[in-house]
Amino acid sequence: MLAYIARRIALALPALFGLVVLTFILSRVIPGDPAATLAGDAATPAQIADIRARYGLDRPIMEQAWVHMRQVLSGDLGNSIFSGRPVSEDIARRLPATLELTFVALLLATCLGIPLGLLAALNHNGPIDHLVRVLSVGGLAMASFWLAIMLQLQFSMEWDLLPLRGRMDVPLGLPPRVTGFLLIDSLLAGRGDMFVDAARHLVLPAVTLALPGLATIARFTRSGVLEALQKDYVLYARAAGYGRFRLATIYVLRNAITVTVTQIGLLFGALISGAVAIEAVFDWPGLGTYAVQAILSADYKALLAVTLVVGVIYAAVNVLVDVAQALIDPRVALQ
C-alpha cells in the first residue's frame, strides 16, 4: 500500500512541475508593466525603473525562471503586486474560509444527493425519476453566480431571512483563531451565538455551491443503484423475497461511500471553480474573492499563486481519493 501511495504521489509531481513552468510563462506574457503597477498612482518613470530593478524584472528571462522555481519550491509565492505583501500569507489567511465553505457544501451535497438518487432509482422511469433527472441535469446547468444572486435577492434582500454577505456579523467580532474554520473556532471558544451566526452566514453560499455536487452525486447514486438492482446476486436475493428498498439500502450503504469518494476528486474542481463566483457574490473572504480582487487590480502574482495553490490542493485531493479507494478496494492498488 505504501508503495502504491508513493507511486501515486510520484505520478502527480510532473503535472505540478509543469504547472509551475506554465504559470511562469504566463507571468511573462502579461501586457501591462508590473513595475508601473507597483509604483502606484503618482509614480514617475524614474520610480518605475527603480522598482523594476528592485524586483529583478530587468534580469534575463532564464535567470528569472530559475529564481521563480526556487522560490516556489521553498514555499515563497512572491509578493503581491497590489500590496507588496507575501502572497503566501494572504492565501494562508483566506484558505480556511474557502475550505470551510467547500466542506459544508460537500457535506450538503452528499447528505442530500444520495437519498435523492436512491429515491429516483427505486422509482425508475416514474415521475420522481424524471424529476430527479431533470433536476440533476438542471443543477449542473445553473450558472453558479446567477443562482447565488437569485438566492441573495430572495432570502436576504426581499425576505431579510439570512445574512447578505460575509462570514460573521461585524459587531460579534471573531473567535480566537485556531483552525480558521469559524464553525469550529466558535465552538472551541464556547460561543454558541457565534456558531449560530457563522452557520447562518454559511447557508446561502453553501447551498449555492452544493447544487452541482448534489446533482452529480444524485445522478451517480441513481445509476449505481440501477446497475446493482440488475446484478445476478441481487436478482437471486429478490427471488428469495427481499424487498427492493431493503436491497437498495444495503447496496447504498456499501457502495455509496465508494461512489462519493470517487466523485469527490472530480467534484472538488467544480466546487473550487464555483467558489470563485459565489464568494464574489457573497463577499466571502476566501480564495475566490482574492482571485477576483487580483483580477481587478491586475495582480498577476496573486492570481498565479492562487492557480498554483489550487493546483496543489487539487492534486492532493485526487491522491487522497485514489488512496482512499485503494483502502476500500485493495484491487485498485494492484492494477
Binding site: P31, T44, S83, L112, P115, D283, P285
Partner: protein
C-alpha cells in the same frame, strides 16, 4: 427521507434565528481599504483613511472648500527666493507609544519617503533630496529646495510623520521597516491600528488614542473603536448600509441608490460638492486625436446633459475644464462644450477634409469595476455611431491603464477616469495634466503639448505670488480648453451613504469625509 427533512428543518431554524441583541456597536466603516497601511508606500483615495486617522502631517486640509491648517507644525517661513522653508513644530505631540515627536522624527519621515521613492514622494522628488531635509533645533526643520516650487506647502499634508522608534526594531534588509509598517502603524494620529485584526482588503480595526495631541475636548462622545470592513460590490454595500451592517459606504454611492438610502429611516446621504473631475482622455499624439477639428468633433459628441442629469440624476455639476469649478485659479467665465451633433459633424467634416482618417475604430478603455465609466462609454458609443465613428470599449483596470500610459505608443486611444484631490492647488489638475514635462505619468496621459501652456504652467509653479499664479493658471486653462485635448464632463458631488447613528460627519475634498475623530455615535 429523514435526512432530507431534518436538513430542511435545520435550514429553517437557522433562517428564523433572530439577530442577537448586542452591546454598544462599534462604528463599522464600509469604505475601500488601501493596499497597504504604510503611508509612504502608497498614495490614492483609500489610503487617506489611514493617513488622516492614524497619522498626522505638518499641515492638514480641513473643511470644504479645504483650508490648509497648521497641524504638527505651528508655523513656517519661506525665504525670498522660495528655496528655504523653515517649519516650527508644535511641542508636546505624542506618538502612540508615548514618546514625544521631535524635529529628528520629521527628518526621518521625509528621508524615508524620499528614499523609498514610492507613492506621495513624486510630489517632492523633482525639488527635494533626502539630505536637504535637516533638523535645525529640537522643534525646527529646514527644507532646501533645488528650485522654487510654490505648491510645496499644499503638498505637505501628503506626508505622514512616522515614529522611528517604533519602526527601528522592525527593519529588515534595510527596508525602512516597509514590510512591518504595511501591516502595523507608527503614528501620532487620533486612532491607532489594532494589528492583530488587520487583514488586507478584508478588515482593519482602529482604536481611539486618548493622548492625541489636539485632545478630545471638541468631541465629548468620540468613537472608541472603528471596524473598517470594505464591501466589495456596490449594491451589496448599499444593502449592508440599509440593513445596519455597516455605518458608512464609500464616497462613490451610485446616483441610482441615493433615493433608496434617503428613504430608509436609519440612513441618509451626505452630499458635498467635491473636487474630483470626471474626464475622458484622448491620446493627442495619435491620429485622429492629433487634429484639433477631430478632437472638437469628439468633444461635441458627448451627451453631457444626458449623462449628468439622466444617468447620474443631476447629482453632479457640469465641469467644462480640467480644474474643478470650485477651485481658485479656474477661470470663472469658462464656457463648457455642449452636446451638439451638428457642430460635431461640421468639425468631423473639416477634419476629414484635412486628410484625417476617422474610419478606424477608436478604442476607449474603461475601468471595469467602476460602472460609471462603462456607462459613459456605452452612451458615447451610441452617439458616435450617428457620426459614423466606431468606438470600441475595452474593459481594463486602473493598474492596467496606468501601467500602459508610460509611453504614448502604449497609451490607449481614449480612457476614462477621475482626477481626485491629492492636494488643493491647480497644480494637481491643469498643472500636472497638461505640462509636457509630466508625459509618462497617468495624469498627463493625453500627451498634450503646447509650448505656451508649458511656459505659463512652469511660471505658475515657481511663482510665490498667489495673484500672479491665479492669472497664469487661468490663462493656461483657457488655452488648454480651447485646444480640447480631453473631454471634461463633471465635477463630483461626493455622495456617501451614512447611518443616522453617525453625528459630526464633516466633509473635506481631501479625505472625502473620512476623519473619524470628528464623529460620534448616537445612542
Amino acid at each position: 427521507m429523514h435526512l432530507l427533512r431534518s436538513a430542511f428543518l435545520a435550514l429553517v431554524m437557522l433562517a428564523a434565528q433572530p439577530a442577537q441583541a448586542q452591546a454598544p456597536r462599534p462604528l463599522v466603516w464600509g469604505d475601500t481599504l488601501p493596499a497597504t497601511l504604510d503611508p509612504h508606500a502608497i498614495f490614492d483615495v483609500p489610503s487617506q483613511f489611514v493617513l488622516l486617522n492614524v497619522y498626522d502631517g505638518l499641515y492638514r486640509y480641513q473643511g470644504n472648500p479645504p483650508r490648509l491648517e497648521p497641524w504638527l507644525a505651528e508655523s513656517h517661513t519661506v525665504s525670498a527666493d522660495g528655496l528655504t522653508w523653515d517649519f516650527t513644530l508644535r511641542a508636546g505631540v505624542k506618538f502612540h507609544d508615548g514618546s514625544a515627536m521631535t524635529a529628528e522624527d520629521v527628518v526621518y519621515s521625509f528621508r524615508r519617503l524620499l528614499t523609498m521613492n514610492r507613492g506621495p514622494s513624486a510630489a517632492f522628488t523633482p525639488v527635494l533630496t533626502p539630505d536637504r531635509v535637516t533638523a535645525t533645533g529640537p522643534l525646527t526643520v529646514r527644507f532646501v529646495l533645488s528650485s522654487p516650487y510654490s505648491p510645496f506647502l499644499t503638498a505637505m499634508p501628503l506626508v505622514a510623520i512616522v515614529n522611528p522608534r517604533a519602526i527601528a526594531p522592525n527593519v529588515v534588509n534595510n527596508d525602512w521597516g516597509a514590510a512591518w509598517l504595511a501591516v502595523n502603524s507608527a503614528g501620532s494620529g487620533a486612532y491607532s491600528v489594532l494589528p492583530g485584526n488587520y487583514q488586507p482588503r478584508v478588515s482593519l480595526d482602529i482604536q481611539r488614542f486618548p493622548d492625541f495631541f489636539r485632545g478630545w475636548a471638541g468631541n465629548p462622545r468620540p468613537v472608541e473603536t472603528v471596524r473598517a470592513r470594505p464591501v466589495m460590490e456596490t449594491s451589496t454595500r448599499v444593502l449592508a448600509l440599509l440593513r445596519g451592517e455597516i455605518d458608512a459606504t464609500d464616497s462613490y454611492l451610485p446616483t441610482d441608490q441615493v433615493e433608496r438610502v434617503e428613504r430608509n429611516p436609519r440612513t441618509r446621504v451626505a452630499r458635498d460638492e467635491s473636487m474630483r473631475v470626471f474626464v475622458i482622455r484622448m491620446n493627442n499624439m495619435r491620429s485622429p486625436f492629433n487634429n484639433r477639428d477631430a478632437r472638437l468633433c469628439l468633444t461635441h459628441a458627448f451627451n453631457y446633459e444626458g449623462f449628468n442629469n439622466v444617468i447620474l440624476r443631476g447629482f453632479v455639476v457640469r465641469n467644462g475644464g480640467p480644474n474643478p469649478n470650485n477651485l481658485w485659479g479656474n477661470p470663472p467665465d469658462l464656457v463648457p462644450y455642449a452636446f451638439d451633433l451638428t457642430r460635431a459633424r461640421a468639425h468631423c467634416d473639416a477634419a476629414r477634409a484635412a486628410g484625417v482618417d476617422l474610419s478606424r475604430p477608436l478604442e476607449i478603455h474603461v475601468q471595469n469595476e467602476l460602472e460609471q465609466t462603462v456607462q459613459a462609454a456605452q452612451m458615447y458609443q451610441a452617439d458616435l455611431r450617428r457620426l459614423g465613428i466606431t468606438l470600441r470599449i475595452v474593459p481594463n483596470t486602473w493598474p492596467g491603464i496606468t501601467s500602459s500610459t508610460t509611453r504614448s505608443e502604449t497609451t490607449p486611444d481614449m480612457w476614462i477616469h477621475w482626477v481626485s484631490t491629492y492636494f488643493v492647488d491647480p497644480e494637481n489638475w491643469v498643472g500636472q495634466m497638461y505640462d509636457s514635462q509630466f508625459h509618462g505619468t497617468w495624469k498627463a496621459s493625453s500627451w498634450y503639448s503646447n509650448p505656451e501652456v508649458d511656459r505659463l504652467l512652469r511660471a505658475a509653479r515657481t511663482s510665490l505670488n498667489r495673484e500672479e499664479r491665479q492669472r497664469l493658471y487661468a490663462d493656461a486653462t483657457r488655452r488648454v480648453v480651447a485646444d480640447a485635448p480631453d473631454i471634461w464632463v463633471y465635477n463630483t458631488v461626493n455622495l456617501r451613504g451614512l447611518s443616522r447613528r453617525i453625528e459630526g460627519y464633516t466633509f473635506s475634498p481631501v479625505g472625502s469625509g473620512g476623519e473619524i475623530r470628528l464623529m460620534s455615535l448616537a445612542e
